[in-house]
Amino acid sequence: MSGFTLRFVGRSQIKHNTSGIQVINKRSVVFAKGPRVKGALRDPEDILTVNGIRYGSSEDNLKPLKTFLQTKLKGKYELPDKLLLQIITHKSFAHGTQPYNARLSYFGKELIQLSAAKYALSQPTDNEFAINNLNFDSLGSFTQSFMKSEKLLKEYAVLNNLDTVFFRRLALPSGREDADYKPRSIWSTLTASLVGAIATQHGKKAAEEFIQQEIFAGTLDQVIKSKSTPSKSD
């Protein structure tokens, strides 16, 4: 075994005071750092680190998302630091002991789903079966369903480098990771929780504007073109 180090830590101290003599019991624990060692306790520091980046609301960690929100969207949707850190933390990180983005992304996905449906209805139509000039006939089709899919949300996160700093569990138990291995169920939570956070801080209208301008107007066409027009139902 090479590449791992062992760290001795005095984890617990017990003090007794018997007939004037102070006794200190010290229990030393050995933590293994680096590759997994069977039977050894992992260093908690290891768990809080992803690809060499230590978890915490430091300026370096929040900078990528902050600059994205400031430059691209002209500072319209600024969010508190605590929430920014929560957005870039997935439930799988550090066994879910840190504030994570599951609820924000659930809310964000609901809003994206509604916006996708409203977007489809808002297109001009001359269909005779339209109700009040709203054509329902595209709902449930391949492309309309694609608009709320995890695939699109993941693409948006990757295209905009939202995952520069992203706290999640590394893919393999050994800690090795492939650069292309970006499961969409994890990566899509970045975009969805960003939308959810904007909705909780700036209201539904602002979040819908963000979805329309950023995801549907910008990314959707780009993704559909790059993947050749989808024609089959999956």
Partner: protein
């Protein structure tokens, strides 16, 4: 007698054979394993993610040109004049207090499910839209009112508001929608005008009563629906109709009036296996003092029906109170109440993101100790 060799069969099948004494079927390897599809467990999720199937849709040149999509089966559309002749439609319109912008024939469409050999416009895609708007507004309401609900409970509560069974109840028992179950012969004998069938909910039934005492269950076709799903879809389609007629604000008001006004007991959805352990871990992650249980009052300790009231405290603050006929029961109840007090936390005067007087919402950190 056969001598099985583990090499020839592979280790796994050898174990199976030697233990259960069964032979290899000749079908093995020929039977296709079923395709894995994303399964949605809850009916509101199923309704949100209904796919129409691309063979049923005429797609324009550009896939994102949603205005020019067209359903293949839509040939006939009931005129507004005809719809005005149906008493049950007029009654339903009045009962739901729908605005004059909401056309009567839209209501007819909302009551028409996708069926085989049906050329009239159906409610399938209206129901998808209705489901999307319902699930957003219900989620928004739940998250702003109870920001700490665990996701499993949040989904169960959403299902309790807008799942198939709840919407079935709303459509059938509150709105008075009836299903069209009579046969053509019965209609003829009753001298019922042909138009009247459009005033009832029509769908391909999954389960039919063939005759008295005989029920047929296997009517499964592509379009057949369970009664609860068909009723729920009609309710969803009516919500979509309100959106189309009067806009989103009216649809939200409609949802508030008819769906969110129903009482859902979220507190009873929680089930804690080891409440004492859970409250300890929760307090530890919140950096609070660990729980202590203290007796508040008691009566009849020596009698056959004693009652104890205990409190679960963290330091000096009382987190929850529990009563029981034994100290153990009271203790467990106090821990459960303390946990519920945490998870069912309600901000004072919660505002939803869709309201104009909206203030930034409380965002919970998630269940950090699981």
């Amino acid at each position: 007698m056969y001598q099985w060799s583990s090499k020839a069969l592979g280790r796994k099948s050898f174990c199976l054979l030697s233990r259960r004494l069964i032979s290899l079927s000749s079908v093995q390897g020929k039977v296709q394993s079923p395709k894995i599809k994303t399964e949605h467990r809850l009916s509101y999720e199923k309704a949100n993610n209904t796919r129409v199937g691309d063979s049923a849709i005429q797609r324009p040149q550009s896939a994102t040109d949603f205005g020019n999509y067209k359903r293949e089966s839509f040939v006939l559309n009931l005129t507004e004049e005809d719809a005005l002749k149906i008493p049950s439609i007029l009654a339903l319109h009045a009962r739901l207090n729908l605005s004059p912008n909401f056309e009567k024939r839209t209501l007819v469409r909302a009551l028409t499910s996708r069926m085989e050999d049906n050329q009239y416009a159906d409610n399938q895609q209206m129901a998808i839209f209705g489901s999307n708007i319902l699930s957003y507004y219900v989620t928004e309401y739940l998250l702003s009112t109870y920001p700490r609900l665990p996701i499993a409970i949040l989904k169960a509560a959403t299902e309790a508001y807008i799942g198939d069974f709840s919407l079935h109840d709303v459509a059938k028992n509150q709105w008075g929608i009836e299903a069209d179950t009579s046969t053509n012969l019965e209609k003829y004998l009753l001298k019922e005008p042909k138009l009247f069938k459009f005033g009832k909910l029509r769908f391909d039934q999954l389960v039919t009563d063939v005759e008295d005492g005989i029920t047929r269950f296997n009517n499964a076709s592509k379009t057949s629906l369970a009664a609860s799903t068909a009723f729920a879809n009609s309710a969803r389609a009516i919500v979509a109709g309100v959106y189309a007629a009067d806009g989103e604000a009216s649809a939200k008001e409609f949802i508030d009036l008819h769906i969110l006004s129903r009482k859902v007991d979220i507190s009873s959805m929680f089930e804690f296996e080891e409440p004492g352990k859970l409250i300890t871990r929760l307090l530890r992650t919140k950096n609070m003092e660990l729980p202590t249980i203290r007796l508040i009052s008691e009566t009849g300790r020596q009698s056959s029906s004693p009652t104890f009231i205990v409190g679960c405290f963290s330091g000096d603050s009382l987190l929850g109170e529990g009563q029981g006929s034994s100290l153990k029961e009271a203790r467990i109840r106090s821990c459960v109440n303390a946990l519920k007090a945490f998870y069912l936390y309600r901000p004072l005067d919660p505002k939803r993101p869709s309201e104009s007087t909206f203030k930034p919402m409380f965002v919970d950190e998630g269940e950090s100790f699981y």
